[in-house]
């Protein structure tokens, strides 16, 4: 079933899907305030904090979660044979010179918009930008997935304790076998066991695109994908707990998530999800099962 307005447009709300849960770090976690300084520099690396309820608390910015999801999505999409851009500034589908239009996609689209042809502009974007630009956004285009900042909050919204530790790093001089001078760093980290509230909101995404998000969430949960800095030194392994998946909108019918475009496949969540207040919602193990049904759509979809 094809929509008259492409799903990548923001003019129409076809559906809203919300993934909620808690990220619980199994290993030390460090989300820093900026880039990691080069190895060997003696810098105290503090975790990023925000003022919340009169306190300064560590959190995981939505932008870092989005970064983790997009970079993993690039790998998965390429493994599937899809051409997708890096999403890095200056190197997106929008920036590349398009032989079709004789200019960059961005310039061509802006031209359409200036002429007042908003639907035309969207059609060009929908046809020529990569799946990930449509999902996660591109220059002058808001994506369809939004990651909230993950704060250490409990089910009632109360602030949780976040114990912190500091680790000192040294390196061994290969030549002397002794501690290498100057290779010392001190890094602050969130001790294992802290809980951060995760909220991901996705609008209009076809089932295969929700399936891609589901796959990455599972990879995160299983430790194949990590969050924050010092990943190769054991940091950033998180589990996803108390997962829920809710979806609402015109492309949800009973327990079915209808196909959103011609490459999409309908998914029936009967037995896994219940309807209430206009939402179709699955929780706990059933939420994981619902997500793996969507993941199958991604795995099988012919998108290349």
């Amino acid at each position: 079933m094809s929509q008259p307005v492409p799903w990548s447009s923001h003019r129409l709300l076809l559906r809203l899907a919300v993934i909620e849960g808690w990220l619980v770090n199994e290993t030390p976690l460090r989300v820093g305030t900026g880039r990691e300084p080069p190895l060997g520099s003696a810098v105290d690396l503090a975790v990023i904090r925000i003022h919340l309820g009169g306190r300064s608390v560590p959190y995981i910015p939505g932008s870092s979660l989005k970064g983790v999801f997009r970079s993993t999505a690039i790998q998965l999409a390429r493994a599937k044979g899809l051409t997708v851009c890096s999403g890095l500034s200056g190197d997106t589908c929008m920036d590349w010179e398009s032989p079709k239009y004789g200019t960059s996609l961005l310039k061509f689209i802006q031209e359409r918009q200036r002429e007042g042809d908003e639907p035309g502009a969207f059609r060009v974007f929908h046809e020529d930008a990569c799946l990930l630009c449509k999902m996660f956004g591109a220059p002058s285009f808001t994506g369809h997935v939004e990651f909230s900042d993950a704060y250490p909050l409990d089910e009632k919204g109360q602030l949780l304790e976040v114990p912190l530790g500091v680790r000192t790093g040294i390196a061994i001089d290969r030549r002397t076998g002794a501690v290498y001078r100057g290779a010392l760093y001190q890094v602050e980290f969130v001790e294992p066991g802290a809980r951060f509230k995760l909220t991901v909101r996705a609008t209009n995404l076809p089932n295969y695109a929700l399936g891609l998000l589901a796959k990455i969430l599972k990879m995160l949960h299983e430790g194949w994908v990590r969050v924050g800095g010092f990943k190769t030194r054991g940091f950033g392994e998180v589990r996803v707990e108390n997962l829920s998946f809710s979806v609402t909108g015109g492309t949800v019918s009973g327990t079915k998530l209808l196909a959103v475009d011609e490459r999409d496949v309908e998914v029936d969540l009967a037995g896994l999800a219940q309807r209430y207040d206009g939402w179709l919602k699955a929780s706990g193990d059933n939420a994981w099962r619902a997500l793996s049904k969507l993941e199958e759509v991604w795995d099988r979809a012919a998108l290349a």
Binding site: S86, R167, G169, R175, G177
Partner: protein
């Protein structure tokens, strides 16, 4: 480039692609113990980087009671004489004692760097952290045991380490920087902390004046190593770097502080890595070696795992031949002391 500085470098693998093998190794790290058939009882000390101070309670009470500046100054003067270093704690997190991932990674990586002697085209690996090659230290000088043990790969200078901070385009790295990462390049192999599972500590007062809280012989730490985009031979190298050869149980290797000291009442740092399980990620290629095949999402334990290790190490040996040294650190050290 001077031939003596040559390190064989190539473009690093594309980090934005999933290709080759991806998976996880579940490992145990054990301090050697005669009780389980090892040749030596060994302690292990890995520091937290923090000093623990001991201050007499009597002085603290006095400081709390001080009312005027003169009284406080008197306490401070007394304190500076009375503060001593207490037993230095073993590295720990909220989950208990740990050998930090960075220590395990450094241990495996440096063993591999030092295991590559010059090959026909140069060294397969740079030294990621090394001071310049000076005159070899004489017996008894700082670092002499280390030098003697690894002499074959330490004789020559290897130049600057690989560096990718200048951007992806110009970046070329050695085999090990591609696997373990370097400035500007994320490694393909990630280590976890090794968390103490059956661990007993003992407070040791060494004749050197050092006071340490060390882990006793027969202690076990558990952790994992996650990898992606590896070829079978590279997975084999990783195992080789942990001292694994023809079975799941590695040969004794040296780790941590005081590992080269043999003039103390206790032996330190003789450990074994033991591979307990190999899991392949669902997005991995199948692992085929020596007639065995592990499918994506599958795994291996026990006897099959032992055969897998032997097959992968054999592959490493045929690939790198004489470039790859097989140094018995523990044996060489004993030999030096004899």
């Amino acid at each position: 480039m001077q031939p003596s500085l040559s390190v064989v470098r190539r473009k690093p693998k594309d980090r934005s692609r999933l290709e080759g093998l991806a998976g996880r190794l579940q490992l145990a790290l054990r301090t050697c113990s005669r009780g389980v058939g090892d040749e030596v009882d060994s302690y292990l000390y890995v520091g937290s980087g923090f000093l623990r101070l001991a201050i007499e309670e009597r002085l603290l009470a006095k400081a709390r009671q001080a009312r005027v500046r003169r009284e406080l100054e008197a306490v401070v003067a007394e304190l500076s004489k009375a503060i001593s270093l207490d037993h230095q704690p073993f590295s720990a997190t909220a989950r208990g004692l740990v050998v930090p991932a960075s220590s395990v990674k450094g241990n495996v990586r440096s063993r591999l760097e030092l295991s590559f002697a010059r090959g026909r085209e140069g060294f397969r690996s740079c030294f990621i952290r090394a001071s310049g090659a000076g005159r070899p230290p004489a017996r008894g000088q700082q670092g002499w045991r280390h030098y003697r043990i690894w002499e074959e790969s330490l004789r020559e200078e290897r130049g600057s380490p690989c560096d990718c901070t200048g951007g992806w385009e110009e970046c070329e790295v050695c085999l090990l920087c591609d696997l373990f990462g370097t400035a500007g390049l994320q490694g393909l192999v990630s280590f976890s902390d090794f968390v103490g599972e059956r661990v007993e500590t003992e407070r040791l007062n060494l004749p050197t004046g050092e006071k340490l809280e060390a882990v006793k012989p027969g202690s076990v730490f558990k952790g994992s190593v996650t990898f992606r985009s590896l070829e079978p031979v590279e997975l084999g190298l990783l195992l080789y770097g942990m001292g694994l050869r023809d079975s799941r149980v590695g040969k004794p290797v040296l780790l941590g502080k005081l590992k080269y000291r043999r003039d103390l009442p206790h032996v330190f740092g003789v450990v074994r890595y033991e591979l307990q399980k190999l899991e392949l990620a669902p997005f991995s290629q199948p692992l085929k070696v020596d007639g065995l095949e592990i499918p994506p999402g599958g795994g291996a334990e026990g006897e099959v795992l032992g055969r897998l290790v032997a097959g992968l190490v054999k592959l490493v040996r045929t690939t790198y031949g004489g470039e790859l040294l097989d140094v018995d650190e523990v044996g060489a050290l004993e030999h030096l002391e004899a």
